[in-house]
């Protein structure tokens, strides 16, 4: 399993943190830092994910567990308009 400690800053946009549906629901409308909110989205395979930046920059003590999330390769959903 790949975690934050395994990647460099230059790889932040290549990976995302994998969430369960329950974890995703708990992050909705919650701040990971002052004036910065979690934004779980779904990837190409409908996994719920957050960015590495949200994991690294999280200072909200209620959600520090996001730093332990397993990382997967980011595969964006195709645009509905293209």
């Amino acid at each position: 399993m790949i975690t934050l400690k395994d990647i460099t800053k230059e790889q932040y946009d290549l990976y995302v943190g994998l969430l369960t549906v329950e974890q995703k629901n708990s992050l909705l409308l919650q701040e990971f830092a002052p004036d910065s909110y979690f934004n779980p989205i779904q990837d190409l395979n409908d996994n719920w994910i957050i960015s590495v930046e949200e994991m690294v920059n999280c200072v909200n003590k209620d959600f520090l567990w996001v730093k332990q999330l397993p990382l997967i390769i980011y595969e964006p959903k195709p645009s509905p308009f293209e």
């Binding site: 946009d13 002052p34 004036d35 910065s36 989205i41 957050i50 930046e53 949200e54 964006p76």
Partner: protein, 271 residues
């Protein structure tokens, strides 16, 4: 005390600068910025007013101070409310003294400015100052919104690294693209009539389009750092140091806005 912990009129005069503009002071007080951040912001307001652009603005985001808490404020109305078009950042966004870096995955900012209620179809400008490049495989949205291929008004970067586009697109579909050696710099798309579209890029050249384009604005709030829609996509990986949105600008006003923004970034040392 009008200055709080920010900057005083006396300090500015001692440095041979201009007195603090009242609108700039409101922003300085709200953000708590000091020193060069404050003097540069004051000069930006003075320059926009001198060019008669200020009254055409609905939102100006100078992105100074280095944190989400200072970057969120609208220079036009620095109240911490949705009604003042204060930004709410979500997802992977990194804040620093250079501005905001959207991470290219899910980072964006909501302006709370509904495009259909705040803009008419043919009177709008959208601008963004980019200060770090990014290479991606998908288009990336800078500012605006799109709810269908026929309701589409935004600035974005296509997959090519050297091109940015302005989409005043409704029906028939058009876009104006400017090729540049870099994405870094000031970009602005504007329309002042259904057949008057102007687009300026970092090289300062005005590209004009006279096709008649009809249509409407998207009935969603304008987003920064993504293609805002009923579902957001095309999240941007670029770094930004300025955004603005407002009424359409003439070619002279486009150039004046570019000059004011460039001077602002130069003073802050973050071009």
């Amino acid at each position: 005390m009008i200055i709080g912990n920010a900057i005083s009129v006396c300090d500015l005069r001692k440095k041979g600068s201009v007195p603090t503009d009242a609108d700039a002071q409101a922003f300085i007080t709200a953000t708590g910025i000091t020193g060069t951040n404050a003097t540069a912001t004051n000069q930006l307001v003075v320059d926009l007013k001198a060019a008669n652009i200020w009254t055409k603005m609905k939102a100006v985001y100078p992105l100074v101070g280095g944190s989400a808490t200072t970057h969120k404020f609208n220079l036009l109305n620095p109240a911490d409310t949705n009604g003042a078009f204060r930004l709410v950042f979500a997802g992977g966004v990194t804040h620093s003294s250079t501005g905001v870096l959207f991470g290219g995955v899910n980072g964006w900012a909501d302006t709370f400015m509904n495009m259909s209620t705040n803009f008419t179809a043919y009177d709008i400008h959208l601008s963004a100052n980019i200060n770090s490049d990014w290479v991606g495989t998908l288009e990336q949205g800078h500012i605006g919104a799109m709810t269908s291929t026929s309701v589409n008004n935004r600035l974005s970067a296509p997959t090519s690294i050297t091109e940015n586009s302005y989409f005043p697109r409704s029906s028939p579909a058009i876009s104006k693209a400017v090729t540049s050696t870099t994405h870094k710099g000031f970009w602005c798309g504007s329309r002042t009539a259904n057949n008057v579209h102007n687009f300026i890029g970092p090289n300062g050249v005005i590209n004009s389009e006279t096709s008649i384009v009809t249509g409407s604005q998207a009935n969603v709030t304008m987003g920064l750092g993504c293609r805002r829609g009923t579902t957001n996509d095309f999240y941007s990986g670029f770094g930004y140091s300025f955004f603005s949105a407002g009424n359409g600008l003439t070619t002279t006003e486009l150039t004046a806005l570019k000059t004011a923004v460039n001077n602002f970034q130069t003073t802050l040392g973050r071009l």
